[in-house]
């Protein structure tokens, strides 16, 4: 399988801060893979995702999306991603359908494709009645849903979601999880961040755990279970994130 996303030695330090928010991070997301990014609050998940999506600049390391280096050919790299941010930004003055069409225009999606996809997702998320209304009048969950539709309108090779299940009702959360699986089955990939271990355990093919900006472990669920037979993923997660970050050989031991 080809690598859809390759991150090599990514480090990110916010301006004015002495400490690294992300330090020497490396992992890959392969074609057709549902990849979870797990970590406690403030671990560096959102910072990493913002670097991948192009929202934040980074000075050290490389990010390649579908073979395109994000620094060297940002437009080509970004054409392959669909990003759902944690703050689900949208323009409040737009109606839902205007926003979807705006995103389709930005990604150059043809009229027929955008209509087919928009109709499918609008119905799936139960937004049929709200799609013609201004986004400013939407609830938190509805804004999240319209962001998801906007991110999927160009059928991206890599779908990135930052804490996607926060604020969604059970039905919508279920639909979103199914959609993530379906997206991967079609040969695309999904990268999402979460701190909800149960979701990660049930949903993903592979995962990476980060804490204090550094990678603690990455691998498939089976590989992690094999390394950690005595404990559940939750116990394992708590044991590795409450202690010090593993360094050097200790970290190597957990890389698969």
């Amino acid at each position: 399988m080809n690598d859809i996303l390759t991150i090599t030695n990514l480090s990110k330090k916010y301006k004015g801060n002495d400490k690294y928010s992300v330090k020497d991070l490396s992992f890959q997301v392969k074609e057709g893979e549902l990849f979870a990014f797990l970590g406690p609050n403030g671990a560096g998940k959102s910072t990493t995702i913002k670097c991948i999506s192009g929202a934040l600049p980074y000075s050290e390391g490389n990010i390649k999306i579908c073979g395109h280096d994000l620094h060297e050919s940002p437009i080509e790299a970004k054409k392959n991603i669909g990003y759902v941010p944690d703050n689900h930004f949208t323009y409040d003055t737009m109606t839902g359908s205007e926003y979807v069409n705006f995103m389709a225009d930005i990604y150059g999606v043809g009229v027929n494709d955008r209509k087919t996809r928009a109709d499918k997702y609008v119905e799936l998320f139960g937004l049929t009645d709200a799609i013609g209304k201004p986004i400013g009048s939407y609830s938190h969950g509805m804004k999240q849903k319209i962001c998801v539709i906007g991110a999927l309108i160009h059928n991206p090779k890599l779908w990135i979601l930052d804490e996607p299940l926060t604020g969604l009702d059970p039905q919508s959360a279920f639909n979103l999880k199914e959609l993530m699986k379906e997206h991967c089955k079609e040969g695309n990939s999904v990268l999402f961040s979460s701190h909800i271990i149960e979701v990660v355990e049930k949903l993903c093919d592979r995962l990476a755990i980060i804490d204090k900006g550094s990678l603690i472990i990455s691998g498939s669920m089976e590989e992690i279970r094999a390394k950690n037979e005595d404990n559940s993923l939750e116990e394992f997660f708590l044991s590795v994130t409450q202690g010090d970050v593993l360094v050097g050989d200790e970290q190597e031991e957990f890389k698969f």
């Binding site: 301006k15 004015g16 928010s21 913002k50 600049p57 940002p74 080509e76 225009d105």
Partner: protein, 561 residues
Amino acid sequence: MTAFFALTKQLIKSTLKPTFKDEKEKKKYFGTLIALIVCLGIPYILMLVSIFGLVKASVELGYLAEILSIGFFMSQLLTFFFGLFKYINIMYFSKDNEFLFTLPLKSVSIFWAKFITILLYELIFSLLTVLPVCIVSIIAMATLGSFSAGILLMMLPATLLLPIMAILVIALLSYPIMKIMQFFKNRPILGAVMTVIFVAAIYVAIYLPIVLNTPNVDGSEIASGAADGSGTGVPMGEMYAMMLPSIAPLGKYFYHTYLLAMSMTVGGVKAFGYAMAFIGIVAVLAALGTLLAMWQFKRISQGVYENNGATASSKKQKEVKQTSLKKALVKKEFSSVLKSSNLLIQSGMMVILPPVLIFFLGTMQVKMNNSFVGLAIAELIIKLMTSSNTISILAVSRDGEGALMAKTMPISANQIVWSKIFVGFVFSAITVVLSTVAFAFIGGVNVLQVLGFFLSNIIYAWSVNRFCVYRDLKKPRVHWKNIEEIIKNNFASVIPMFLAFIPGLLVMIPTMVYGIVLTGLNPYAVGAAYLATTLLISGIYYLIVRGFTKVDVEELWNRIE
């Protein structure tokens, strides 16, 4: 639709198009708009009529180019004044930047989409100022039979290029402003103070040459000017004839607008040369301004929202002391203002610009033997500026969802509201004190005028802050994620500022009349007349505000959702 076009269309729409939750809100909006158009339309027409007279007198006395130059420069100054923070907010502080940089768009495309949006916004302003002045000038020239084709040809380029020029200057200056803000980002108060000083220095740089070039005029010169211009035969014409010889020469010192004005008035090949020189200046500015702004756009914008993600460095813990509820609320209000650089800068501007403007404009008027005009201008400036106090205009909105939390606390809403008015008033009071000092320094005024100016504006400052806080309390916008957004979209600030024209003009007009009519009286008697007038207007304003704000604060507070 191309990505760039789609983005530009969207940005224009989200900046200029109002949104309504329901039909009721839409009707209310258009009702207010129509009322505003009617209220402002009358003084606007009167202004055009007086411009017609001024242009006519200028043509007769041979000062048309100078007067047009002054008018164009003032229009640019207004564009600069209102556009500076609009530009910075849309370009750098906008919440959508973080989203736009994730899209497959070049940062240059995002820059241009935003630049075009800002230009269109300012162009609307220019269409209301430059274009009507040109049309009125054409009519005035035609009636006197001294019509020049240049004004017809250059009318539209002037309407378009004058705001563009102002925005380009802003684009150039926004770079050092943002650099200062980012350099001091961990010390917002120092950063805001430095930014305010920088912008005040720009204003000083604009006004200083003008003041230095203002001719000293004594009474006899004005009298002879009146005699020269008495040919107009009407009182207004005589007044213009009196004023023009002392004011008009200033127009020559606004070199760029003078070139434009000359291209409109001289005719022939020379007009073409002047037009090309003006367009050349715009082209050079365009190259410099856009290149610098484009080059730095992505880096500065990302720097702004990067700061939000950075964990603040830990500060030394201060010793905790128990304090009274009143003090705790005031402290919280001050803290919320001092921690937002944008809010702090806007408030800082409100504090520093009136004394700067009053000092320079007042000095100019004193040099031209018009100290009462200086006083009248000072009154209008301070009323307009204290009425645009963002701290009070967003008193409740800036709390965000924290206002909902405050509802759960066992505190009286009256206490919260009082603390908000008090903090807004403190900033306005500093403005009044500094403006009074500046006003006292310009000379040509006596102690009664200084006292009247200070006391009446302190009363006005308290009243206008109370008015703004209650306005926001009635309909706060508490659901936001980024305080910069709520500051950026603060269109509500326009209304108190427009309303400030009423007390401003009510003091300004009699003050100017005293200067013209009561010339034979003792200066202290004239000062007393001014003191009584200004205190009366501020007192009435205070009573009206009190009447309008006699509402159940607890109920309004409980309605916030």
